[in-house]
């Protein structure tokens, strides 16, 4: 398992922001003689067989105030948010930046009334910025713990974001298992991956090494016009008696995925994304409207050797 590109390829912020901002208790825990790991036993066994030694369960947190309409980073009221710096600047995880998407949806009859309202889709860079900030800060703290443990890498990274104590606070929690590569000196900063166990082993077998996790969230607010409202809920306008594709929703869904892909692509440099996972959620915004959010996660990987054809697979049938 040699030839790893090392931590010099990590986003600068990951190495540079490894500030001393984790609690003192971390030092006490990491100095314990017993190692800990969040790996399942099969993943632990695969880890041992690959020559990786678990050092510690490492984690990072960030509690963020989450305001639906935050100041800065673009106005929600204008149909066209101003272009600016990529959201999440200052953390390892930048988003696509503001001004990436906005689209207005007038009433197809050209009428202004309570029923024939106009609508619009627009990107919410303030939400993307907050997500990048929260995720990035938690990630950086996890990396700092791994560095304290003398790790070469962090495997089986898991990240969650959940409301804490009240709806306006979201806590970002990133955990992973810090590992050392047998007979190898630690790099300046550890690499990281969402993978573990057999999936990580297969990655190495295929000639790739993990560089770091890559993740981004994109958010699009959809204010339905009268036609969309009618097609979604059967209300909100007269003169509609047909079904069919709901173009405004399709455009919002397409845009939110495109924005997440663009944000992650900007983190990859010349590397490849492996094991990409899209997660799309929808909810009603505080002021009405429909919010569509997309989170894209994966592991940034780099080829270190030519592909060796794997042994022919053996077909099996499970009897349980």
């Amino acid at each position: 398992m040699g030839g790893h590109p090392g931590a010099t390829d990590l986003p600068e912020a990951a190495a540079g922001q490894a500030a001393r901002n984790v609690p003192e208790a971390v030092g006490r825990r990491l100095s314990s003689s017993a190692w800990s790991s969040g790996l399942s036993v099969p993943d632990f066994a695969a880890c041992v067989s690959m020559g990786l030694r678990p050092l510690a369960l490492v984690q990072g947190f960030c509690a963020m105030q989450w305001s639906a309409y935050a100041m800065g980073g673009g106005s929600p009221w204008g149909a066209r948010p101003t272009a600016g710096a990529p959201a999440g600047a200052g953390t390892p995880f930048t988003s696509a930046g503001s001004g990436g998407y906005s689209e207005s949806w007038p009433c197809p009859h050209g009428i202004f009334s309570a029923e024939h309202r106009w609508g619009g889709n627009y990107q919410q860079p303030w939400a993307e910025h907050a997500w990048s900030q929260g995720f990035g800060s938690a990630y950086v703290r996890m990396v700092e713990e791994a560095q304290q443990a003398g790790a070469q890498g962090i495997i089986d990274v898991v990240d969650t974001a959940q409301h804490l104590t009240e709806q306006s606070v979201i806590e970002f929690h990133v955990t992973g298992t810090a590992v050392a590569v047998e007979d190898s000196p630690p790099p300046p900063a550890p690499w990281s991956t969402y993978l573990a166990g057999q999936r990580l082993a297969k990655l190495f077998e295929a000639g790739f090494v993990p560089v770091s996790v890559a993740a981004a969230m994109s958010s699009v607010m959809m204010w339905p016009n009268c036609q969309t409202e009618y097609l979604l809920h059967g209300t909100g306008g007269w003169g509609y008696s047909y079904g069919g594709e709901i173009e405004q929703v399709i455009n919002a869904d397409t845009a939110v995925r495109r924005l997440a892909r663009a944000a992650v692509r900007s983190q990859l440099g010349s590397d490849t994304l492996h094991g990409a996972r899209f997660a799309v959620t929808r909810h009603t915004g505080n002021m009405g409207g429909h919010v569509v959010e997309c989170t894209l996660r994966g592991t940034r990987v780099r080829r270190f050797k030519d592909f060796d054809p794997l042994a022919a697979p053996r077909p099996t049938v499970r009897l349980s």
Partner: protein, 264 residues
């Protein structure tokens, strides 16, 4: 209440029956097969419980702090349940208990009281070797039969189910703090620090338990968070895992084979 004599009468009768060769277990058939393959025989289903009054501790509205009395209560109650389960296993002459589950139940008849239950399957090595831990007690582990088998193949031996807990009160934000951040998406450092500290305390306590068992590592660490019946600002952070040591035997992991599953 840690003596075997404290176990209910019905327990002695049930354990006597188990000593005569009949065994009970909550292992699935696959788990049973793999536990046998690892060289162990199930002796019986064992359990321990404790109904504990968790009491009240005053907390300051605007201060994040550990609620030590509640932490101690949650810890002691689980320890009592675990100890009683270990006693049952000892009565059977077991080397360990696998598939341990730790549950907390609340009942309508007991406001502020909770039942803590530990249960698992007692096992004994078939070759007569002792697998008891450094304290001379049967090892405990929350590993399934499959995980137990896999762990043994890596050359590691379970020592005990270790845990650490911390009940923490998270401060409410004052009016000035709330107004100061209205309309902003910003980190709340006090919240971050409080939660970080609470989880670290739970994990450190879990590792202290592992150190006392002479373990070299802990696998399958889980971090659980529950508010139980205390409201959203008081949270119990529980860290759980199986402490292991490197055994004398070498790892006997089979070389992985690439397969295509023909199942749906």
């Amino acid at each position: 209440m840690t003596e075997a004599a404290d176990l209910p009468e019905a327990t002695s009768h049930r354990l006597e029956e188990l000593e005569h060769g009949l065994f009970t277990s909550d292992l699935s058939v696959n788990e049973f097969l793999l536990v046998k393959h690892a060289g162990f025989h199930p002796l019986g289903f064992v359990m321990g419980s404790s109904i504990y009054h968790t009491g009240i501790q005053t907390r300051r509205w605007g201060k994040s702090q550990e609620l030590t009395k509640l932490t101690e209560a949650m810890y002691n109650a689980r320890e009592l349940a675990m100890t009683r389960m270990e006693e049952e296993a000892q009565e059977l002459g077991a080397d360990g208990v696998v598939g341990v589950r730790l549950d907390v139940n609340y009942y309508e008849w007991g406001r502020d009281a909770a039942e803590f239950i530990a249960m698992g399957t007692a096992v004994k090595a078939e070759d007569g070797s002792s697998y008891r831990n450094a304290q001379g007690k049967p090892f405990t582990s929350d590993l399934s039969g499959q995980d137990f088998w896999t762990l043994m193949q890596t050359g590691h031996v379970p020592q005990g189910l270790v845990m650490g807990t911390c009940v923490f009160h998270i401060a409410h934000r004052g009016l000035a703090q709330t107004l100061g951040t209205v309309g902003q998406n910003v980190e709340l450092p006090n919240f971050t620090q409080a939660l970080y500290e609470a989880r670290e305390l739970a994990m450190t306590r879990m590792q202290d338990e592992a150190n006392r068992l002479g373990a070299t590592g802990i696998v399958g660490v889980r971090l659980e968070e529950k508010s139980h019946q205390w409201g959203s600002h008081t949270i119990e952070f529980l860290a759980l895992g199986t402490a292991v040591t490197k055994g004398t035997g070498a790892a006997t992991l089979p070389v992985p084979t690439t397969i295509i599953s023909l199942d749906n």
